[in-house]
Assembly symmetry: C2
């Protein structure tokens, strides 16, 4: 029996509790900031323990999972570090890793063993009401050990996410941040930029948007505050992607004058896009 | 009874024939370059007349529709102009308009009345086998009169597309090209640029792509030769959009340092994206 402490009862925290229950072999405690959330956890019988008191939730934990926004992690981690059992394993679900791993590793280094995680699931829904046991089935989860990580803790966190249904990959925190900047954070910013550019240049054009434009810009409807925080936390990798795109668009200005080169450019994109192994459903 | 001549038996030409038949009141003749296509048209009983001979198809036409790639229109138009009845109305289905309208208006001005059209339907499928009577139901069709257009011909072309099921809007050829550059041609190029940028910088990142990336880049799988031709034909409007995006990305580099401004930027994009009236299905 693994004693699991989940910090935060949102979509991810709630789904982790439900997936752990489905898998079996876990005693689940969940911390929530608000009493209403505790009542909801109790009503849905999602956890053995639900409480607004951190010590109650973490004092016997084998594995603690920080499932709160990146900006809230530091303060909670310091409180947890004061009460968590010596040798416990800690992970998180933040979508940026270099800054988080550096901060939390330092906070926990005296007592516990921290390893960062990023389960890539559920970014568009929010809240406990959307939580479900199957959220992680087939989703990628990136575990981000660094040179100081405890090997047994890395193995345990890796195994934990597999138990919940994830396909687990390991990357350094910096490689993680560069990769998610390219496939998630920067594409979000690019979609927002496209919408704003058209809104400024020729808002009437929106009347003529079709299914291609709908898909290209879908992510621009994501929650601005969450994305502002993500973009700040992954600032340098996102900035590098923006600057790389400025260069790429300068190349395109010259390609526009050369049919043969443009055809090669578009063929290269099509070939790579066609080879992507991507989830089938339109929303996840 | 309107005598309709459709030049080209692809997805659009075939669907126009089927939609006209469904609407009733048309005698339909279709020209195809290849004898195999004529045989297929006859087998599916799509038209009263199917032939590889242009004169046979257009000699009695009231309304001629050029449904061939933009690059093939000029040569066919010159042959049609030699045999079409005096006063016939001509339109096309090309996805760029300023260059097409200029070329075809000049070719037909002695005998017939040309008005450009762009039915915004079916860009991802190709060929007669994909043709269907319902292709235009609810699709936008932009009719592009210029200052020389015959008013009765504009009204007739407008009414024709409505009869086929389209929602018809009128724009000048230049306004059309600027608008489709913004909502279709440039977004296509941007999706291709994003895929190629990642392929060059960090191809491993594709392994971590999720549903957001899938939708953002879907159009990059479109046919490169067709898109090369579209981008060439709408060169100046696309180039203006590329240069506007370079400026927008430069602004973003500075926004990345200012949370409050970034939140405003993303909120602006979300508000506009949420207000779009967009088709629901994922492919069209």
């Amino acid at each position: 029996m693994t004693r699991l402490a989940i910090i935060g009862p949102g979509l991810l925290g709630g789904s982790i509790a439900l997936a752990a229950r489905r898998a079996g072999g876990f005693h689940v405690a969940v911390w929530a900031r608000r009493a209403e959330a505790v009542a909801e956890l109790e009503k849905r019988a999602i956890a053995e323990i639900a409480s607004t008191d951190l010590a109650t939730v973490v004092r016997d934990a084998d594995l603690v999972i920080l499932a709160v926004p990146v900006g809230a992690m530091g303060a909670l981690a310091r409180q947890i570090a004061a009460v968590v059992p010596s040798g416990a394993i800690i992970t998180d679900v933040g979508s940026v890793k270099a800054a988080v791993v550096e901060e939390l590793s330092a906070i926990f280094q005296q007592r516990a063993r921290f390893v960062g995680s990023h389960p890539m699931a559920g970014s568009e829904q929010t809240g406990l009401e959307a939580a479900r046991a199957g959220l992680f089935d087939g989703a990628a989860c990136i575990v981000t050990p660094d040179s100081h990580s405890d090997a047994a803790a890395v193995a345990a966190v890796h195994h934990f996410w597999e138990t919940l249904g994830c396909r687990v990959l390991e990357l350094s925190p910096a490689a993680h941040d560069e990769i998610v900047a390219l496939v998630s954070h920067f594409p979000h910013l690019l979609a927002a930029a496209l919408v704003n550019l058209i809104g400024e240049k020729h808002a009437e054009a929106f009347e003529f948007a079709g299914p291609g434009f709908r898909d290209t810009t879908r992510v621009a409807s994501g929650p601005p505050e969450m994305w502002t925080e993500i973009l700040r936390s992954n600032h340098s990798a996102v900035r590098a992607a923006v600057e790389a795109m400025i260069e790429k668009l300068r190349e395109i200005v010259t390609l526009l004058d050369h049919d043969a080169s443009m055809n090669t450019f578009l063929t290269q994109a099509k070939t790579q896009r066609d080879q992507l192994r991507l989830p089938k459903s339109s929303h996840a």
